[in-house]
Assembly symmetry: C2
Amino acid sequence: MQNPKLSILGCFSASPKANAHPTAQLLEMKGHLFLIDCGEGTQIRIRKHKAKFSRINHIFISHLHGDHFFGLIGLISTFGLMNRSQDLHVYGPKGIQEIIQLQLKLSKSYTSYQLHFHELESTSPEVIFEDDKISVETIPLTHRVYTNGFLFKEKKGQRKLDFEAAKKHRVSHQYFNLAKQGNDVVNLDGNSVENSEITNEPDPVKSYAFCSDTLFQPDIVEQIKGVNLLYHESTFLEEHEDLCYKTKHSTAKQAGIIAQKANVKHLVLGHFSVRYKNLERFKIEAEEVFSNVSLAETGKDFEIE
Amino acid sequence: MQNPKLSILGCFSASPKANAHPTAQLLEMKGHLFLIDCGEGTQIRIRKHKAKFSRINHIFISHLHGDHFFGLIGLISTFGLMNRSQDLHVYGPKGIQEIIQLQLKLSKSYTSYQLHFHELESTSPEVIFEDDKISVETIPLTHRVYTNGFLFKEKKGQRKLDFEAAKKHRVSHQYFNLAKQGNDVVNLDGNSVENSEITNEPDPVKSYAFCSDTLFQPDIVEQIKGVNLLYHESTFLEEHEDLCYKTKHSTAKQAGIIAQKANVKHLVLGHFSVRYKNLERFKIEAEEVFSNVSLAETGKDFEIE
């Protein structure tokens, strides 16, 4: 079983700078490669990360501030220049379709592929993507404009067959699938074999919660309880906590409190204001309340375990 | 007198890559700092070039293809984040205002400064900016969408006073301005002094023509005749001339023919397709018909002399 992997393409707030790229992340999970947010220049970051453009079929946009979506139109255009053929799905706030389609229309650049928009308006969590292996749901956040975080969850797989035990209990391979589904089976001698005798627990499911941008909002704790990895914005340090209320952002310590209350396994901080020279201070402030803290960094991968 | 200076911020066509930035140029002329086109990532290029954001008050957009304007919304937003106060003027094809204002509206990011749009629709050359020192006019081009090049021209200044000659001819300093304006004057002895005795020709005027993107279009020759510097797109080499007709672009040799026919002083080639490894070939092909050819290069300055 391969663990999911989060790759940071950019983790700074506001204007892009040569060494401070705006928010964009790639999440590799159960064969999917999801793009989360897409600030200006994201397509260059994807190339630098040597990720395959053609593997990106779903893009999730948290909100319509430039540092989270100004790179989307460029990426959509580049997909067209690459003669992409497979469908692309974009999930984001209402209005995102109008922005993209207006630009495509005025540049007479119709895409070579089907572009599907899934516009979001709900202020309650909703499942916006689902297949047999994973689901993605919105995490409604509180920011200056309509904003969602996203919760990516693996689904529980089948039980693991213990081949040696199955052989020992004289279970025919015709019954293996039934056993993996959790059923007791009948062996070659006509005797019933309990499921637990020949199977083990399925792989534990992994989950990732992306929460940016938001005011400190403890009511998300219930939804993200126990996730393996939480990315939470921390635009400011405590010395600028007053700015959080004005701009609807969080401090590193507030992110730590969310992580602690939700009992997550690992917290990654990001969306740093470019005013700070020493990012280590974010880690130190969050660690006052939560122990397993990392700092997002352009080009860095986090295995979700 | 300071010569105008052209700075190349990006000179490649299509999708931005780490080392192939899309079209953007800065033109320093008579105290103005004009931005010409604004592909994705241009704001980072401006920073790298150490140009002052606050000096840019006029932005000229040739056409609404992404590699020429996807960076505009980001730059306009960044000006806002910097609390810019002075007016900003954007000149570009009809539709540009709707694109920018829709994104500002949906992100609830109203600018801290006055943003003026000058939407272009005419297919004949028109003066779109003018002050006492320079004028800017459109150069209608032929591309897949409505496109203009831009012709930047200094205005002829006053005649230069020869102080020694004026002293010798006993001309009072009260008459100096009249003399600079080209008039004969009366000296301290009541005698008339011919203007040419005490003044010299004004500084020669400089001009710059920006022509991107366009099919080979010899009817622009008349308008750009004798310019000091011509930037002309050369997306393709001769081996791909057939693609020019399909995509409405030019070859390096065609750019050379325009330069030769217009008798310009210096030709700079750009808007290279990223398919070519060796850009020297563009220079070689243009030099078959015109001798003073340079290649655009990110970060490079060209003095206009």
